[in-house]
């Protein structure tokens, strides 16, 4: 692999900046979906729509300008299957119970949240356990394939640009109305708070930088399986050798910074995946930690209600499982696949809603009795 130091540095930098942005704005995607069902209103969800619309615009402009090369279906976003929907639903339950999605867990962990540390371990456990039933799940995924089209433009057999312009015009109308009515702005009584709409714009730029230079949209979940695989190789190498999921080399993608095709898999070896995702994960944690220390809000609290810790662990395990079953997590799909109109990502996103609803029911019934 060429240019490894540059790629590691670049991914780390993207992580640091994302960590600071997400911590300062508390850009909690899990919360955005949960509040829809918990409070029947979710003002932060508008910022997520802004993020998706901006990413769509930036990706399409970069593609037309020749700065971004992708084609669907690819190893990044494949053909749609019912398992994408199921994965999204399970992920939705998990993220609400954990109190944050995968990336959310990372920036909360960085700022000193103990439940986030717990769900981080849950994520590794869940991701690693997936390897036990990977062959079965892969069969189910193939058996429930829904279409030979990978994206909306392919499904409708229309020019991508036409669809993108139509969707952007519709989203633009909504965003413009919210903006003029002041609904994009959050009330702020805290020093150092970053408005979520600003965070959305910045994160869209980070997503484009990641996609166009590393060759992958922002994503981190395969790394959790990888960490689990390293561990399993230490404690149970015999069993490990029987798991096809960890023995395979995963998928291939073109890395512009390395100027070659790299492999990216969950197995316990250094490859094109760890090269980007490990520094990204480290960066998000450190960036958020740095931001929390600067605000003077970094402190660990251990005296927490037990149901919350159990919920965080359980939610983490569910998210770990779901992110392997889908495959990939909400950031990969919401910030990467949805702006490309990938059918996989659309199914995943649809699945998030019933999942978040069910997770919220469980949360209010068993965890936070009000």
């Amino acid at each position: 692999m060429e240019n490894q130091p540059i790629i590691i540095f670049f991914a780390f930098l993207l992580g640091i900046v994302s960590g600071v942005i997400m911590h300062r704005s508390d850009f909690c995607i899990a919360g955005m979906f949960r509040d829809l069902f918990l409070f029947r209103s979710s003002p932060l969800l508008r910022s997520l729509i802004l993020l998706i619309a901006c990413s769509m615009l930036l990706f399409e402009m970069a593609r037309v300008a020749g700065l971004l090369n992708y084609s669907l279906p690819s190893s990044l976003y494949g053909l749609p299957s019912l398992t994408n929907l199921l994965g999204g639903t399970l992920f939705g339950v998990g993220m609400v119970l954990a109190g944050g999605c995968v990336v959310g867990t990372l920036y909360k962990l960085g700022s000193g949240s103990v439940p986030a540390v717990v769900s981080f371990f849950g994520l590794i456990v869940g991701s690693t356990f997936y390897a036990e039933f990977h062959p079965l799940w892969k069969q189910l995924s193939l058996a429930t394939r829904l279409s030979t089209a990978a994206s909306i433009p392919q499904l409708l057999d229309v020019q991508p640009t036409t669809i993108f312009i139509t969707i952007l015009a519709i989203l633009g109308c909504f965003l413009f109305r919210w903006q003029t009515k002041g609904k994009m702005l959050r009330p702020n009584v805290v020093k150092g708070y970053l408005q979520p709409r600003t965070a959305a714009l910045l994160l869209a730029i980070i997503g484009l930088l990641s996609f166009s230079l590393t060759g992958m949209p922002l994503g981190i979940t395969t790394s959790y399986a990888k960490v689990g695989a390293y561990f399993e190789q230490l404690v149970a190498p015999g069993h490990m050798a029987t798991l096809g999921y960890f023995q395979g080399r995963g998928f291939e993608y073109f890395s512009p910074l390395s100027n070659q095709v790299l492999t990216a898999g969950a197995g316990p070896f250094w490859d094109g995946l760890s090269l980007v995702q490990f520094p990204l994960i480290g960066g998000i944690v450190l960036g958020s930690g740095f931001s929390a220390v600067r605000m003077g809000k970094f402190k660990l609290h251990f005296n927490l209600p037990k149901p919350q810790l159990i919920s965080a662990l359980f939610g983490g395990i569910l998210m770990g499982l779901a992110s392997r079953m889908t495959p990939a997590c909400n950031v990969w799909h919401l910030m990467g696949g949805l702006p490309l109109l990938s059918l996989q990502s659309i199914l995943f996103t649809i699945g998030l809603f019933p999942g978040a609803w069910f997770g919220t029911r469980m949360l209010t019934r068993f965890v936070l009795r009000t």
């Binding site: 919360g31 959050r186 009330p187 805290v190 003077g296 609290h301 251990f302 927490l304 009000t370």
Partner: protein, 88 residues
């Protein structure tokens, strides 16, 4: 800031998972509705989460209480009390 005769009730939700801070606050405000409305007590919520602070401020202000935020060393102290008529 606050009158000395006001009894303070303190609730610490630092470090708890979202959305515990807001839900706990809303529950405690409801539980202490009578003494809060009559101006007997002041409810202090301690949280280290900035988004929760914004949300609690918004939600409890909308319920007609006076809400003051004091940024302390390791957390935010959100003081909830009866709103004076003059402040509308």
């Amino acid at each position: 800031m606050t009158e000395a005769k006001l009894k303070q009730v303190e609730i610490d939700v630092c470090g708890q998972i979202c959305p515990s801070s807001l839900l706990t606050t809303l529950r405690e405000v409801n539980n202490h509705k009578q003494p809060l409305r009559s101006g007997e007590i002041q409810l202090d919520i301690l949280t280290d989460n900035s988004d929760s602070t914004n949300r609690i401020f918004e939600a409890v202000s909308n319920m007609g209480y006076m809400v003051e935020i004091n940024e302390q060393k390791k957390h935010f102290r959100i003081s909830i009390s009866k709103r004076n008529r003059t402040e509308g």
